[in-house]
Every structure is written in structure tokens, then in C-alpha cells.
């Protein structure tokens, strides 16, 4: 089969022939229909510091996808040939403290398909039955392909109350854009989208944020205060991973508000804890992955019910052979979510 391969410990990747992967008794072989490119894939492609410490080439990356079950191991009962599926690519150990108390999303021994083993930028991928996710056929394939980042957005927005609440989404990459849709669908009263990049602000408008603000030019704190009766936002969803964004997110948070942090800053961030968290009586949630599998059920149901309109965030659909050009579009900021079609674009 053809797959995107990171062949050696160096920047770049290539599309080449590799064997179709074998599946075990508890595994499922899936023919990939659509796969999404994540920021992490850009790190692997660029071979940044994080990638150098984690990735063991050769590797087939790709951890967002959907496809069709083409074969199942003999002990598999959850899905059958022909089923439309995606998967949670974080494979939890099932035995650590976190796994045993229902917090598998922060398993101490997690391995990630597409990072620690071969993933979905390929014609076929193998998934353990425990992690396969059957999808209602009414859900569009381009949405089914991005449940991983959509799940990040759903978990972030829904990690506390949102109905009738105001929210500031700081950083409008794909997950931030999805968060706009999720917040609106779940009853947020006012959605502020905060983003320095003009392309992304355009997309945020298309996602129907109530206010789209450029912190490099506008006095975001003043505007938010003005639009929230002087109170500040009930919720900050931090998706920029940028120190300025993080601090701005705390600044505009109301006394007693919630800040859910997903964006991962490089290195330390300097924070006025007294003002931003302690005296503010704020609650801060560290958000990693998606709840296994509560978030998956909520997200799938929102999609099945037609509550989420995500198309503006999907800017590119490319054939797998054009993987490198998709990478370039991402790196220049021209693209938001890029979808890859390993078995041909439909």
C-alpha cells in the first residue's frame, strides 16, 4: 500500500510503498477514507526538538482519520466489516491508577498511534478494538476524519458549564475554530474569538463568533469588559499556547470564572498568579486529549443531530501524494484543517 513515511531522523517525509499492516486477534484493519493533518504532524515533518525526542523512524504518522472496516481479528465483537469508523489514537494501558479511576485520557503509560506506532496517513491502518469508534453513516466523512481535534474542542468547552455563559476562545487554529461551533451549539451566550492572524480571524467570523478580535491591534480587555456588563467572560478556552494569549485569557476572565487550557506553550510562562487565579477565585482545567469515551459520545451525538457546522475550518482537501504541499500550506498559515485522502479524493 502507499503511505506517508518519515524515513529517517531528519526533516521531511515521503510517500512510498509499505506492507499493509497485520492485525491481531483484538485488532481491526481499516481502509482509510480521510485523514487530517495535525500541528503535531507538522512538528514531526519539521523534525523539531519534541519530535527528535519522541519519534523513532521509520514511522507512518497520522492520528486523525475515518474509514471502513475491512477485516477484524477473531476476538473482535465491537465492529464488523463494512462499518464506518474512526478511532481514539491514544491507547491507554488499562492498568494504571488513572485508567482504573476512569481517567484513561491521562494514562501514565499511553502510546499514541501515528506517533509511537504506524498511523493513518496510509491506505490502511490497524486499530485495537478497545479504541475503534463506530460512526453513524449520516455523519459526513470530512467530520468523521477530525474527531480527534474536534474532541479536544468539545472536551475544552464542556469541561464546565457553558449554557448561557460567555466564552473567550484564545487562538483560532482548527481546534479554536471548532470550539466556536461547539460553544454556540451548547448555548454559549457570547463567543469572543481572539486571534492575531488575519486568515484565522476570517475563518472565526465564518464560524459565527459574536466578536472576532485582534489582540495585536485592539484593546481586547476593554472590548470584552464592555460587552460583558463590566464582568469579564465566564469561560476562557486557551488554544494559542502563547504566553501573551494565556495571560490575556486570564485578564479577561471574570472573578470566579473558568479557564480551560489546551494550547501547549513552549517552556515556562510567567503568570501573575495572585491576580490571574488566586484573588480571582478562578478554576483552571488542564485539558489533555479527550475523555475516553464520554467526549466521543457527546461529540458524535452533536454531529449526528446536525448541531455543528464545521466546514469553514476545513480549508484543504488533498490527495496523499500531495502531502508535502499540504504541509507547506499549513506552515505558511494559509490553511487551517487539511484533509488527506489516501485512497483518492471524493
Amino acid at each position: 500500500m502507499l503511505a506517508v513515511v518519515k524515513p529517517t531522523a531528519a526533516p521531511g517525509a515521503e510517500v512510498r510503498e509499505v506492507p499493509i499492516p497485520k492485525y491481531g486477534d483484538n485488532e481491526v484493519l481499516v481502509k482509510v477514507k480521510v485523514a487530517g493533518i495535525c500541528g503535531t504532524d507538522v512538528h514531526i515533518y519539521d523534525w523539531n526538538n519534541w519530535a527528535q525526542g519522541r519519534i523513532k523512524p521509520p514511522l507512518v504518522p497520522g492520528h486523525e482519520f475515518c474509514g471502513e472496516v475491512v477485516a477484524t481479528g477473531k476476538d473482535v465483537t465491537a465492529v464488523k466489516e463494512g462499518d464506518f469508523v474512526s478511532a481514539e489514537m491514544h491507547v491507554a494501558c488499562g492498568k494504571c491508577y488513572q485508567c482504573r479511576i476512569g481517567e484513561a485520557h491521562i494514562c501514565q503509560n499511553v502510546t499514541i498511534i501515528g506517533i509511537d506506532s504506524n498511523g493513518a496517513f496510509a491506505e490502511y491502518v490497524v486499530i485495537p478494538e478497545s479504541n475503534i469508534w463506530k460512526i453513524d453513516p449520516s455523519i459526513p466523512a470530512e467530520y468523521a476524519a477530525i474527531l480527534d481535534p474536534l474532541g479536544n474542542a468539545v472536551y475544552t468547552v464542556l469541561s464546565g458549564e457553558i449554557a448561557g455563559k460567555s466564552i473567550a476562545i484564545v487562538g483560532c487554529g482548527p481546534i479554536g475554530l471548532f470550539a466556536i461551533a461547539v460553544a454556540r451549539a451548547c448555548g454559549a451566550s457570547t463567543v469572543f474569538a481572539i486571534e492575531v492572524n488575519e486568515n484565522r480571524r476570517d475563518l472565526a467570523r465564518k464560524m459565527k463568533a459574536d466578536f472576532v478580535l485582534d489582540p495585536s491591534k485592539e484593546n481586547v480587555a476593554e472590548i470584552v469588559k464592555d460587552k460583558t456588563h463590566g464582568i469579564g467572560v465566564d469561560v476562557t478556552a486557551e488554544m494559542s499556547g502563547n504566553a501573551n494569549g494565556i495571560n490575556l485569557g486570564f485578564e479577561i476572565l471574570r472573578m470566579g470564572g473558568r479557564a480551560s487550557l489546551l494550547g501547549t506553550p513552549k517552556g515556562d510562562v510567567s503568570i501573575n498568579l495572585a491576580k490571574s487565579i488566586i484573588f480571582k477565585g478562578a478554576t483552571v482545567h488542564g485539558i489533555h486529549g479527550r475523555l475516553m469515551y464520554k467526549t466521543w459520545f457527546q461529540m458524535t451525538e452533536l454531529l449526528r443531530a446536525g448541531r455543528l457546522e464545521l466546514h469553514p475550518a476545513i480549508t484543504d482537501k488533498i490527495a496523499m501524494k500531495d502531502f508535502s504541499s499540504g504541509m507547506e500550506r499549513l506552515k505558511t498559515g494559509a490553511a487551517s484543517k487539511v484533509l488527506v485522502y489516501p485512497n483518492g479524493v471524493r
Copy 2:
């Protein structure tokens, strides 16, 4: 001024001249624009057992309304002349255990304006500053008039998670109808409306419930099971106060689900606790009133943001002189929410 008056301890009411009420240093005089008739008002009108035990005629009833501030006591700072307002009519003592821990909605010493003292079926009503609620002028007056029952619906639906969850609303009087809108606005994936009365089922369809079911003719348990992958609903919002409805609501609730009970049954209800609650691992919330004032903020913000379409539930708009005919329309089940205009219909 003119007001609806319950003159004596007997059925009926009359519209007659009464003095404009006096206001104290911490009180607000409001010119009533629109008032809503509640089921409780029907009980007072009919002089049922509950009313005989609670009401001390003469009384001006009416505890749902909106209007304009026309005068304020000298210590009032929260509102000023000309403000568009409604009010929480449950006046909490502020000193009991419940009030001191933030549960004023279940104050041990509550008094209710329109039940224990003169209310809003009148050209003017007096409200303590603590209970006045200023409203954004963009909110339609017919919605501002019904914040009391809308608050019941909002509190019921939002007393636990709703986003991406299925909900069964049992009983489609005005509050049940409002609950359909609230559930949809806050991300419910599937809304089942269950109601024996055909008129109310028609309204439930207009409120856009996903499935509108007649438990007197349809096998609700089977249909709900079928539409929820065999799991049952995540949430039951009980608004019928009917023993059959209550038990059906528990029957269709999923293992681990939430039942929020608002409808008040007469007398005891026989329940299979083991099956309905204990083995089911269910959570049951008794819902009384609305959270003071968390629910008010959430509700007002949902309205201001245009997230709620409630018009189908408002079936009648009448002049105050026609109060008795509104009562009759309610008692025959022909009407749902009846709005009364003490100062003329607009």
C-alpha cells in the same frame, strides 16, 4: 388603578379599582406591561384545597410579569425610572441556613408576591430592590413577562449536563414547552416530548422536539429505547406531576441518568425505587423555583443572544378585563401560556 382581585375565600376573581400600592425605601414601583397566568393562578381562581390553605383574600394575584420602573425608594440603587424590569417573586429571608449558603431558592421563610402579598395582575406592582431584575431592552416584552416559568425550565434542564445528551420532557404545559427550546439551545442531541393532550403535542412539535409521543397510545419505552441505541435517555425532565408520567420518566431513563423533577404530584406516588433509582444508579434532582440568581443570568443571556424561540407556547394575549375568559381557555386546555396586558394590549 385596575387590578384582578380575589375578593373573598371562594372561586372566581374580579377586575376592579384598587389603590396604587405604596413603596418603601428599598422598594420599586413598576408599571406592569405584560403578566403571565400560571397554573397556580388557576388554583387560586378555582379556590382549590391548596389555595384555601394558603391564600388570604383580598389578594391581587400574578407572579409573572414585566414592566417599567416608574418610581424607586430612596435607598434603591439597582434600577432607576424608565428601566425595563421583571422580578423574582420569591422573596427570601436572607437569614436562614439555606439563604446563607447560597440556596435562597429554597429559603425556609420565603414569601411569594402574588400569593402571599399583592402581585402583578394590576396596573402597578411593588417589588423589593433585592428581587428586581433589570432586562436588556432587546428582549421582547412577551418573553420578559414569563421569566418565572422560563426560569423553571432553564433550572430544570441545566441542573446537570445537557450538551450532547438526550432528554425526555414529560408533560408539555408551558414549562415543558419552554424546556424543549432550552434543551435544544443548550446542545441536547435528541429531545423527546411526551404528552397525552393533543393540543400540547401540536405545540411541542412547533417547539421542534425531535420526537413527540403520546403515552396513551404509543409504546414510549420502546420508541425511546430504539432511538437511543437501546440505552435510554440521559435526562428526564419531569413536568407532568402525574404518577404515570413520573414512572414512565424513570423507566426510560438510562442507567446512571439524571431525572430532574419539577411537576408536583398531588399526594403520594408509588415508585419501584430499586428499579427506577437504586439499581439504575440514577441521580434525582428536586427542582423548586429558579436559582437566585444564577438561573436568571443564564436565562437572560440566552434570551439576549436570541437562542430561544418561545412564541409557539404563547397562545393567548388578552386585556386584563378579559381575565376570566383567559382562565376558561386555560382550564379547557385550549390555551398554553396566556399573557395579560393590564395597561392595554400592544
Copy 3:
């Protein structure tokens, strides 16, 4: 080996030779040190209606125990020979909705070892690795043997806030007695134990309940009101399964309180929902089993830290050959928790 066997579909049981059970690749063979007799075992012994519908003889009952690992299947990594262990005997399917959202304690497809398959009233028992529970050797064997009912008590008491709160424990069988200890250890300010049986009230006093009340002779509602500043208890832990007890538990609950229901009544219970739950703004939790495995961690840590003194509730220690006499002591109410030693009393 010797085991207690329910040989046929009739009352009674016998102690006889049976083969040592085989264990699979993912299973653990445990030499039973101590096993506890549960009320459910009495039902099986007596062959009541429930038992007739559920139990398929021949069966070795017993679902509370501790022992030593003597052999492990080839895929087992969680424990090794010589480990001191107990087990969660509810075996969850791992695939249903409840299991996938972290609510395995209410798995739709649960099977129970000792009820649906051979259990722990035997020299040896086989446990799947997923359900084995390794125990700190510092925990006494007689406590390690009763983690199943202790877990019921811990889950019930801790299903909401308890620190600085008053609690009424209605019904003082073994789980009720354990609940007294758990409540005190976790900061309950006042513990009321309510029980009609004199023996049990004596034990409740030994467990250090603050007030031990006999509802057949004392005005419990008045006493509770008096001792709680007129407010009522913050928490009711219902462990009687008796209709009068259940209603009393609601009556003495404060406005806004929590009732956690564990005791399982036979048939329907008639409840004044309006007064007991709805107007009271109460929260009711149905409690089934123990959280898998959050409760197990909390309980084990409380025991390891020496926070729980449970000895008064353990009234009998018998050799397995005396199983029937233990049953009789339970049925007359003379005994509370009866421990069985299949490999000899130590």
C-alpha cells in the same frame, strides 16, 4: 477442595468436595483466607423469589473475601504469587455505554462472581485479572474480606459532601454500621443512627454514632430537628430498604440535602414526592455497588491509614463447615457481619 455448594433449586446449602477451579490466561487463582456472608447469600440460602429467578445451581456462592494469590494465568501482570488480594466481584463487560464512560459499576451486562458463577465460599476462587485488587499487607484480613460491603458504605457516604455535615444513617445492618465509621472518618459533624433492632443499635453505639435512635419508640424527626438547629440533616444514607425508613429519611433531610439510597425495598414504595424531594430541592443518588475503582482506592487508603475501626460490626468468625449455623445466626438477627474461614480460622 471443600466449598459451600448450593446443590439444587431448593433452600439450604452443603459443604462438600468440588474440583479446584481452572484459571485462564487472564485469570488469577486465589487461596481464600476469609470470606464474608452477605444478605444476598441469605437470600440464596433461603431460595427466595429473587434467588429462584437468578441462581442456576449447582453454585458456590460467596462474593466478599480476601486471600493469597497462588497462581496466575500467563498474561497476568497486575499481581503475582504470594500477593494479598481481594476482588471486585462485579465483572463488567467493558463494551457497553456505561463501561465506556467510566460507569462500569452499572454495566448493562454485568455478571457477579458468587452469584452468576462460582464464588469465594471455597478453599480457592478464580478471579479475572481486571477485577483483582491487591491489598497492602498492613490491612487486617478481616477488613480485607469485607471490602465489597465496606465499598457500598464508602460509595454511599462519599457520593456527595460529608465534611462538616450531619448525616442520618437509616438501617444499621453491617453496611449501615460501616457507614457510621466512614462518616466519622471523613469529617461528618453529627452521625445519627436510626434502627429498630436493639442488637443493631448496640452495635451502632459501639461504632460511635453520636445519636442512636429507635424509630419505633422515639420521635426521630423531633430529635433530629432539635440536634440540627431546626434544619434537618445534610445527608441521609438509606440502608434499610424499608418503606418507613425511606420516608423517615426524607422527612428528616434538610431543604437542599442529599439522600443516597442503597437499601433495596421489595416492591413499590409510596412517597410524597412534592414534600420529600421537589419542594425540598433534594438531590437523590441511587447507589449500586461501588465505583470501579475509585471507591476501592479511597477505601483501601482509609484502611491503610488506620482511619476506620470496624471491629464492632464483625460479630462472628466461623469455620466453613459451620456455614449453616452462621446462616441461622444471621437470620435471627443475632449476628451482624459473619466471617467464614475456608482454610481454617486464624
Copy 4:
């Protein structure tokens, strides 16, 4: 009467004659029995930057105390002459968003008695009825005098689950010491006390922390890991306000743990958010003051039930004339909680 007075905008204070304060219709005059010196009082005494920006001399400081009601305004009903009382010294406005949703402890317009108006280092103090707190006479006066900082400890420890959980208390000033007692009383399984000062570590041992660690000499992270089965603590209670302490507190927190931050650092703190909060899936609570009045009820009930032994933390009892020497003992670290007796030591 005699009072401690900060006479001018400069370091120091003096004990001198001032008029007995007048009380209004809704106010209570209290004869002070015992008052506690807080770290904030040291700041005021020293006239540090914070004090220079906030305090308007002349001022009678003092915001921890207990005493006896000697007179009440005509509208006061909550207490009467002779009652034993303390008070919440944060006076909330009652009208801001936070106050109206039950979060008065983070009122936007709060004023603090003893900081913004005359306080309790005096023979008499005036308290608004809304803030007076009646105390059971069985509670010792030296405990009743320190409900303010004890409330900080109770709110911090109980801002999430603690029963059967491990906790690290970072910083063992008086509030940290109280937190040890609260955690133990509420079922914490293992209490780690972390403190660089030797005197304070001695006190932490007397408060019965399970492990008392010196981060300047011991490898706290290793020790905590070893004593928590490699998992880390469930809860960190940050009470040092020191950047190293804060980061250590996050380091030893388990995946999915809770960090409740009370200690207020000067200036910014540099934090590795990705590692400390985001990937860890941590929950962080900013803790300000005490919940009004939920914490007060919990705390008072814990004291009334005799669950808290706080004496080791009370190191000094002095007459008001010796106020300055108490200050010196605090500033050298020789004292922990210093109690002042304005009407003579008893």
C-alpha cells in the same frame, strides 16, 4: 477604649485611647475577647508596598476575633446581647454579579473590616448584622478567634474531594498548620507537610502530618512518589506563596490531581504550564477568603464536634499592650498564631 492604632502612613503602631465605635440600625457592637494577628497585619505594621496602596491611617487593624455582643441596632434579629460571636470581615456589596450568584467571597466591591475600616484590635468592634457569626459556647475562645484563617484552610482543603486522598500542604504558617488538622479530620489518607523553616516543621509534626519534609534538604519529589505508589499526591494545598513551593506543589501532584492555591506570591511566577497543568490534566482552584457562609457552617460544625485539634499552632497569647512584641515574634518566625487579648488575657 484602648485599641491598636496605625496612626500615620509609616511603619509601626501604637496602643492608645480611641472612642468606642457607634453602631447603626443593622449593626452589632461586640466586646472583643480574643483577636488573632494575621500576616496581613504584619504588612500593615511594616507599611509595605501593599499597605501603602491600600491602608488609609488612622486605622484600627484586626480582622480575626471573637467576643460577646454588648449591644445591637434596632433592626438586628440575628443575635442578641450576651451572644458569643465572631464575624466574616469581608463585607460584600450584595449587588454585584458575584454576590447575586452566591460567590460573595469574591465580591467585586468588597470592603474588609480591619483593613478598610476599623477592626478588632480594640476593646470593642462594630460588625454589620449580615456578617456576624454566632458561635456555639462549647467552642473554645482561642479557636473562635481564628475562624478567619481556619476558614481559609477549610475552604482550601475542601474545595474538592479529600476523603481517602493524599494531600501535600506546601508552606506551614498558621493556615498551613490548620490545613493539616482539617485534612486529617476530613479523611485524608496521607498528609505531607512541606516547609523550609524548622520551627514550622516542628509545629507540623505536632499537628500530626504523616510526613514533614524540608525541601531545602530533602528530595521531596522522590519521597512523595515513593509514599504514593509512584502516583503523586491527589491534592496540593499551596500556602507558601513562594515560587519554588508553587512549582514543587505542581511537580508532586498526580496526573488528574487538584491544586488549590491560597498563598499569594509577590509578582509573577514562572510555570511550565504544559507539564504542570495541561498534560497533567490538573484542576487548579484559586482560593480567596472563605465561602460565605458555607465554609463558616462546615468549620463551626467541625469545631463543635471536636474534630479539630489546633492548639500546637497557637504559640503566643499576649495582652494588647504587648502588640509590638507579638509583631516582633512573628517577624522572626518564632511565633505562629499570636492571640491578642484586648480586655485582658484569660
